[in-house]
Subunit: 145 residues, 2 copies
């Protein structure tokens, strides 16, 4: 059987700083195109569980050791990344301390949901809206498509 | 940038026949190794949303048009498929009518949760146990790893 080709698999992590008022979330200003503000994240390695990939990417990009809370959802719109089809598993995670910009991040900052920066890259505005719904209404996002 | 290599992405569908007593689930007896009984499923195509892949695979393998209910979880243990690392998104879906074995299925049958066949292939025993928890206790599976 030929090796199947499937979309590339990524994780994005919605990190809430639970030791700060308003539980601000960590966003990075991307150094590479597509530009804009984005959740920390990256590609899953072969041989790596999703949860491990999520904690690894959070550490690599923000220097934070995060505690995963839940899987928010899978984001799979083929047009969500202009470079090619990626499917992202988005995890909500809690962290304490001070994040530091690393790797793919040009700059890193904390934002409360009422003061999000623009533009948000990829479909991360949708993801943050879904997080808000989960936080305030305790509902996971609907299936789409 | 070189093209990243990530685990292969699959969908598995837990189809409940909601027009039959006890809402039996559809399992197929695999024609190809690894042998055993398994949920219908397969690889996600590039350019295809996860939800579309789930409905397509259900139709191709069981001739059922299913209605997706929820994402049960992501199963990503690197050893779950002896042929290589696949990450499966498992959807719960409802269907009515009569399923028919097609494609990768040697035979297809309906089983209630109290009378599951053995052996179950891959990590599908775990998935079915997680479904039972979701059904009776309204809890999604915990993050693992």
């Amino acid at each position: 059987m030929p090796v199947p080709v499937t979309p590339l698999l990524t994780v994005d992590i919605l990190i809430r700083m639970v030791d700060q008022p308003g539980w601000p979330v960590v966003l990075i200003e991307r150094a590479n195109p597509p530009h804009g503000f984005a959740l920390p994240g990256g590609f899953v390695d072969v041989g790596e569980r999703m949860e491990v990939a999520a904690r690894r990417e959070a550490l690599e990009e923000t220097a934070l050791e995060v505690e995963l809370v839940t899987l928010l959802g899978l984001y799979s719109d083929p047009t969500r990344d202009p470079r090619g089809h990626t499917v992202s598993a988005v995890y909500i995670a809690d962290a304490r301390g001070t994040p530091e910009a690393r790797d793919d991040a040009r700059a890193l900052a904390l934002y409360t949901l009422d003061q999000l920066p623009e533009p948000l890259a990829f479909d991360h505005a949708q993801i943050l809206a879904d997080y808000r719904t989960w936080l305030y209404e305790e509902r996971l996002p609907p299936l789409r498509g």
